[in-house]
């Protein structure tokens, strides 16, 4: 539990770093590290498949997409972020954490829940037979993404 909490703190720290760091590339790497930590957290919760997906897809594929984009737009046109935000953010965040902790403490035991039965089957069965419609949805959303990228990068030889 202590290790898990440490990992969770690391997750939040690296995510906040990803938001606050000035250099985009370092931001992307911080995001990748936080995804890695989240994957490990998933493993330790007893969710190996989710952990693998988080690490290979989010820490891997999505980071690559970000780095690709950063490379394509990296031109030295730095966007000057507001300096006000740079110290307002940590302040607001810490305030929120305090409120968050108090709220969570107050909520303990207040959320009613039905006792749930044991899960049956292997993960494969649950995914392929239990949530098949989600798989159809996944195919659909991948199609949407592919066609979206094709549409957005098509040859523009006409003007509107």
């Amino acid at each position: 539990m202590i290790l898990q909490t440490a990992l969770l703190i690391g997750l939040v720290v690296f995510s906040v770093l990803a938001i606050l760091l000035k250099d985009l590339l370092r931001s992307a790497i911080a995001l990748a590290v936080s995804s890695l930590l989240l994957g490990i957290i998933f493993f330790r919760m007893g969710a190996p498949y989710a952990g693998v997906f988080e690490i290979s897809v989010v820490a891997g594929l999505i980071t690559v997409l970000f780095i690709l984009t950063i490379a394509l737009v990296h031109k030295g046109d730095e966007v000057r972020e507001s300096r006000l935000v740079n110290w307002a953010f940590p302040l607001a965040f810490v305030v929120f954490l305090v409120i968050d902790a108090l709220v969570m403490k107050g909520l303990i035991g207040k959320v009613p829940a039905l006792a749930s039965g044991a899960e049956s089957g292997t993960f494969g069965e649950v995914l392929w037979k239990g949530r098949t419609l989600d798989l159809v949805g996944q195919i659909a959303v991948i199609l949407a993404g592919v066609f979206a990228v094709l549409a957005l990068f098509r040859k523009r030889d006409k003007h509107e």
Partner: protein, 102 residues
């Protein structure tokens, strides 16, 4: 709901809030999208820890995996939009996208 759920809920809320706060303050388009990614992490943590608290890890994993696949499609589309915006306006500043008033 077991007490560990509230612990995970605390961190998940922190992540979501950090992302939302970033969305309000940041100006770089790519940075804004990174904030959205952080919100996504918070939400997937919430999903999985809820499954953990109910003992339904298999279902929760299936949900999180579908969620991640949707996220990939979103990232691809959003980054394609950002690259196009950069090509059109030569800038990644959200303030350059203020033509439309909403």
């Amino acid at each position: 709901m077991s007490n560990t759920w509230y612990l995970y809920l605390f961190f998940s809320a922190a992540l979501v809030f950090a992302g939302l706060l970033g969305l309000l303050g940041k100006r770089n388009l790519i940075k804004l999208f990174i904030c959205i990614e952080v919100v996504g992490k918070g939400v997937s943590l919430l999903l999985l820890s809820t499954g953990f608290a109910k003992g339904s890890m298999l279902t929760a994993q299936a949900l999180v995996i579908t969620y991640i696949v949707i996220e990939v499609s979103l990232v691809a589309t959003a980054l394609a939009l950002i690259i196009n915006i950069y090509r059109t306006t030569r800038s990644l500043d959200i303030r350059g996208l203020a033509k439309l008033k909403g």
